[in-house]
């Protein structure tokens, strides 16, 4: 007897796959935030600007990216 094709599709853990994809994307975003921080440091070494707290903003951005990754790990 042939198995019901719809039961196979329904049994497929779609949201588990989506969760893994979202986590992978957020991991990539953390890498991006880290690159931004490195780039801000490079830009500031070329044109040192002390009045605008850009390094602080870049660090905050990286912390935000890590926080969202952890949140996704907990919520999804």
């Amino acid at each position: 007897m042939n198995p019901d094709p719809f039961s196979i599709i329904n049994a497929f853990p779609v949201w588990q796959v989506v969760k893994i994809m979202v986590l992978f994307l957020l991991l990539m975003y953390i890498v991006f935030a880290f690159v931004v921080l490195k780039q801000v440091n490079l830009m500031l070494s070329t044109i040192p600007v002390t009045k605008v707290p850009l390094r602080l903003v870049a660090v905050f951005h990286l912390i935000l990216a890590i926080s969202v990754f952890v949140l996704a790990l907990l919520v999804l």
């Binding site: 949201w15 989506v18 979202v22 994307l25 957020l26 975003y29 991006f32 935030a33 690159v35 931004v36 780039q39 801000v40 490079l42 830009m43 070494s45 070329t46 044109i47 040192p48 600007v49 002390t50 009045k51 605008v52 850009l54 903003v57 870049a58 951005h61 935000l64 990216a65 969202v68 949140l71 996704a72 919520v75 999804l76």
Partner: protein, 206 residues
């Protein structure tokens, strides 16, 4: 030996101080900074003085700011068009958080690119710092005495209203042309460059 010529107003203050550009700002976020005192760049020598720091006119940021505003309002449309209803509730919440994270990254990246793409005119040279994206940097420079020709264009309604335009500086150096894109008050920049070229020529003759 008697002096051949002595200027009469040698010790008097300058009768015609340079006109202050109405668009010039002292803030670090200004697009036209005259004689900035608290800025240096990595290849600047000790005796070199920055005369002018330019960025693209602030108004050139409007397109991405409008895009960001639209993106920020987009989730409110979900009340009328429930496009995310097929997702479980926790995925919907994460989708919104990731959306706003994306908006933050666009704002930060666009600001950094605008802020660090600067054109610096010192008393010795013209330097163009280009950060095309977050991963690509180029620095172009030309000595003031190598400048051969300079032109500016200011076409279009917005550029005329907000008084900004493009400057092309042709040089005799290794870099044939340096472009200043969408800088405020291009005629004043050209005037300042002309003054610096004249000073440099006088210095060379002495």
């Amino acid at each position: 030996m008697p002096d051949i010529y002595v200027s009469e107003n040698k010790d008097q203050p300058n009768q015609n101080p340079p006109e202050k550009n109405p668009q010039a700002g002292s803030s670090m976020l200004a697009a036209y900074i005259d004689n900035p005192t608290d800025i240096r760049f990595d290849t600047q020598s000790e005796e070199e003085k920055i005369m002018l720091l330019l960025r693209k006119h602030v108004i050139t940021n409007v397109p991405w700011i409008l895009l960001v505003i639209l993106m920020m309002m987009a989730p409110f449309l979900l009340n009328f068009f429930p496009l995310l209803d097929f997702m479980p509730a926790n995925f919907q919440v994460m989708a919104l958080i990731i959306w706003y994270l994306l908006i933050i990254s666009i704002i930060f990246e666009q600001f950094l690119i605008w802020f660090f793409n600067v054109y610096i005119i010192t008393d010795e040279r013209v330097v163009d710092f280009d950060f095309h994206s977050l991963l690509y940097k180029s620095v172009t420079e030309a000595k003031i005495n190598k400048i051969q020709d300079k032109t500016y264009t200011m076409g279009g309604l917005v550029r005329t209203i907000f008084n900004y335009g493009d400057i092309k500086i042709q040089t005799a150096g290794a870099v044939p042309e340096i472009d200043f894109d969408a800088v405020p008050c291009p005629s004043d920049v050209i005037k300042k460059l002309e003054e610096l070229i004249n000073i440099e020529e006088v210095e060379e003759r002495q």
